[in-house]
Amino acid sequence: MSPAFSSIKDAGAFALLLLIILLLPILVPKSELPPREQIYATLSWNVGPYPFIHQQIYDEKSDIDIAIIGSSRIWCAINTPYLQEQLSEKLGRKAVVISLCWPWTGFDAVYFIAQDLLQHRRVHTLVFTDESGLYGVQTTPHDEAWRWFRFEDDADALEGLPLQAQLTYYYGSILGLPRNLLSLIRPNLPPDLSPERTRALEADHHWVMPTQNLGAAVMLEGYFNRPDLFEKFTGKLPASPSDVISYTPQTAADFHFEMQPAPSSLQTHFVKKFGALAQANHTALVCLNVPHLDDRESKKIPERFFWPEVMESPVTLLGIVPSVLFKGMSEEDVEKLYWDRHHFNQNGQDYFTHLITPKLIEIYDTPPKS
């Protein structure tokens, strides 16, 4: 067998290359990095609606009345244009409402993307949902964290996390940095939003393009990811806006908090930082309960944690008891509101948004005191 290296110099060069790659996040000084904007500029529609997020954070300048922020569950749950229309009517001016959402859960994404947003735009109210994980509390970083986490910028935010979690982010930074550094050599092309490309994206994802809905994902799929089964729901829907509940000592019995959070968990860490970030920017927080299909018979609003306590920040909890939301509906009809067990399709989105909008506007008018 021939040796791996033809000379000791070759072996030395390989060792040096490995060392440079592993130390890249430390070796490149912060001053030499491309602007953070370029992180979003490198992410295409194939990864998520990051071109829209990029535009909203860096190109738009107006103050935002309500920003819906988080992963696909809340992305699919709110009909943002309807909320904007109703809020505009209430305020007597054109309200600014957007959905700044992406695929995959994790409060780390909420924290880092909210941080970029709040550095560039003033936001009155941020609406989020439980991002701590779909199947139990997620112990790993957001699946796409390696694309947007930069150790040079964000290392301070890791302080207090277990070493393993810190190492994972560091490794993510090794993976993501070369693509980011490429932005120094040549510009990233603007996203292709030609009619052909838009049609292709709509056909691939079975949605109405989020750019046409202030960022919201309007999913045209039937249950079990079946676009062929999607049809407009025309049956009777049982709940009304008066069934929507915000948490107070008087309504506490309508909520069920399932767990006590582990103090050093990754999700707890970032949701706390998210709360502090919102407080520092005088932004009100609303935690909206988006019901899973499996919760449909629940007689209380199921939340994993009591968020104001976990976040150590004022948060308004908002939701509707699932058994009231789906009262009297057959299982088949309930399924017509979802495209999978966790996500509303267009039917569910319209129903849910019409219910929660009046209360959300009421909360907008009277945010909790910090």
Partner: protein
């Protein structure tokens, strides 16, 4: 001057150590999504 044999030993030990570190980091980070095609299936 470091003898050639000792230099070889140091470099190979370094390569092994760095490879172990890289593999360990990769193991911790196996949850990252790299394939764009699967993104929206998991949503």
């Amino acid at each position: 001057m470091i003898p050639r044999q000792k230099a070889e030993w140091i470099i190979y030990a370094l390569i092994i150590a760095l490879s172990v570190i890289a593999l360990t980091l990769a193991f911790f980070s196996s949850s990252f999504a790299f394939d764009n095609r699967v993104v929206y299936q998991g949503f």
